[in-house]
């Protein structure tokens, strides 16, 4: 599927020595909502943008947002999840002459920590970190394709092809099945997550989904993998995001309040993958990785005022919230109903609609919303006086939280 250099996925260690060495000083995004609607409308002559063009738009906007000039950018990190040009070609395309380039993995599992570590090591001072995907335009499907991997433990789910079990969605369906029986919940209860995130999306003009969602809409939508329905699953849309990340001391001179990268963590399932995911709901990994990130940042969980969790599915977000200890096991859906996780609630979560209703940008969208919140630029969805936020990416077998802070 992709060619070129091997991407180094090694995470830098979660140590205080690497904390607060760099900050996000620029944010640029493509127009997710406008582009999605244009694509759906299939207007004559509409050509979806290539990943290269999406990256270019995001970069131009991030650069303008930072108040910096091209000559100030001396590093470039690129991420084209489903294929794209090499960093050298991207630099040429963007008119940059970086002294350090790197290719980072597509989903938001390692890129920000890797970029911070590169800056801390003196490889560059100010890095453009560019991500773009054309998931919808390439008709990307999230199940069924053949991808044999017998390389060892934990084996991938493609091994279960003969039983017809291949999709990401099925993981969350089985998680929800266990969870709802364990806690005696109804199918409607999970709709609280989808409805809240839709309400959040309505507060962000570039969210992909803007239409109101009622419980009747939620329950009436088709099943994808029963018991999960259409609105339990994340979107598929095209887009690009660029962050400008600068050395902490230089970051103070930029146009916007710097959003400091204060800590990160990583926990990977090493054994008993299905049991860990479906019965334990990745809880050990959330706990371990969360503790690393908070410890590195020198903060406690109570300091976190805004949380963004990778919501591949409604149930996935429930696992994040409980795994990181923001809710007692079994209570998350009731707390959604009470508004605890809404903007203005006890802990606002996925305030731009996440990937369920906002934009499917593989966790980059979550970091973008954390940046807006920590800059106090989130308008009606703003968390008042916010000084620390956590983003958390998780797949079926790994968890990667990042803690961001706004310096006093």
């Amino acid at each position: 599927m992709r060619t070129g250099t091997m991407i180094d996925k090694t995470m830098p260690p979660s140590v205080p020595e690497l904390a607060r060495k760099a900050a996000i000083v620029g944010l640029g995004e493509t127009d997710f909502g406008d582009d999605y609607r244009a694509q759906r409308a299939k207007a004559e002559g509409f050509e979806p943008r290539t990943p290269e063009r999406l990256a270019e738009i995001a970069f131009e906007r991030a650069l303008a947002d930072s108040g910096l000039e091209r000559k100030d950018i001396d590093g470039l990190a690129t991420s084209f999840l489903y294929g794209g040009p090499q960093p050298g070609e991207v630099a040429q395309m963007l008119g940059l002459r970086p002294r350090h380039t790197m290719e980072v993995f597509g989903i938001m599992a390692g890129p920000i920590p890797q970029v911070c570590a590169a800056i801390a090591a003196g490889k560059c001072d100010t890095m453009a970190v560019v991500y773009a995907v054309a998931s919808r335009s390439i008709n990307r499907k999230f199940g069924g394709e053949k991808m044999d991997d017998d390389s060892g433990a934990p084996a991938t789910y493609y091994y279960y092809h003969p039983w017809g079990w291949s999709s990401q969605a099925a993981h969350w369906a089985m998680c929800w099945q266990v969870y709802r029986h364990r806690w005696g919940l109804a199918e409607e209860d999970l709709g609280e997550v989808a409805m809240q995130l839709r309400r959040n999306a309505q507060g962000w003009p570039q969210a992909t989904m803007q239409a109101p969602m009622t419980i009747e809409d939620y329950m009436g939508a088709r099943f994808i993998v029963k018991p999960l329905r259409l609105f339990d699953m994340c979107l598929v849309n095209d887009g690009g995001i660029c962050f400008i990340v600068s050395r902490a001391d230089k970051a103070r001179d930029c146009a916007k309040p710097p959003v400091t990268v204060a800590g990160w963590g990583e926990a990977v399932v090493k054994a008993d993958k299905l049991d860990t995911l479906i019965r334990r709901q990745l809880r050990p990994q959330f706990q371990a990785a969360g503790a690393q990130a908070l410890g590195m940042a020198g903060l406690s969980r109570a300091d976190i005022g805004h949380f963004e969790g990778y919501d591949a599915a409604t149930m996935h977000l429930v696992n994040h919230i409980e795994g990181h200890g923001f809710a007692e096991p079994g209570t998350t859906l009731e707390r959604f109903r009470q508004g605890d996780f809404a903007p203005g609630g006890k802990l606002p979560v996925n305030t731009a609609g996440g990937m369920l209703s906002g934009a499917y940008m593989h966790g980059w969208n979550h970091v973008a919303e954390a940046v807006r919140q920590l800059r106090h630029e989130a308008g009606a969805r703003q968390t008042p006086g916010l000084s620390a936020a956590m983003t958390s990416l998780a797949q079926t077998d790994q968890v990667h939280p990042i803690v961001f802070t706004r310096e006093a």
């Binding site: 017998d150 291949s166 369906a173 994808i224 993998v225």
Partner: protein, 136 residues
């Protein structure tokens, strides 16, 4: 008549499993070093890293841990939707992803007792017996 199924992962290391199914036995790897029972087939034990294994025949009895029904057609017609999948905790410990035989998702309750059965199937690799589970 044999059911068409999406392709298995095949190769020398996987063959003992399918040979077991052909003989009406559910076999999994047993780590020679720590004794952990492993499924699916692994190159190295996920408990201790050991790379030597024996094949152990299991009772085929277990309990349903979770289940999900595929409604979206990810296999483009190879497997007609909707179809049910179940996650079974085998008596000896490993979790086994499979399909129900002779019952549907509507009848499942957590912890329901099941036992293995073998369904005649075929894929690109030829005919084979697929382990599925019926009510015990």
């Amino acid at each position: 008549m044999r059911q068409k199924r999406p392709d298995r992962t095949l190769g020398p290391r996987h063959q003992p499993f399918w040979d077991g199914c052909a003989a009406g036995e559910l076999r999994v790897q047993e780590c020679a070093a720590c004794g952990k029972l492993l499924w699916p087939v692994m190159r190295a034990c996920d408990g201790c890293g050991g790379e030597a294994f024996a094949w152990r025949t299991l009772s085929g009895r277990g309990r349903v841990v979770s289940w999900a029904t595929f409604v979206q057609d990810y296999y483009r017609g190879v497997l007609p939707v909707p179809y049910d999948t179940i996650l079974v905790e085998l008596e000896e410990g490993p979790l086994f992803l499979s399909n129900p035989l002779g019952f549907t998702e509507a009848e499942i309750v957590p912890g329901m007792a099941v036992e293995v059965a073998f369904l005649p199937c075929e894929d690109a690799g030829g005919p084979f017996e697929l382990p599925v589970f019926r009510r015990a």
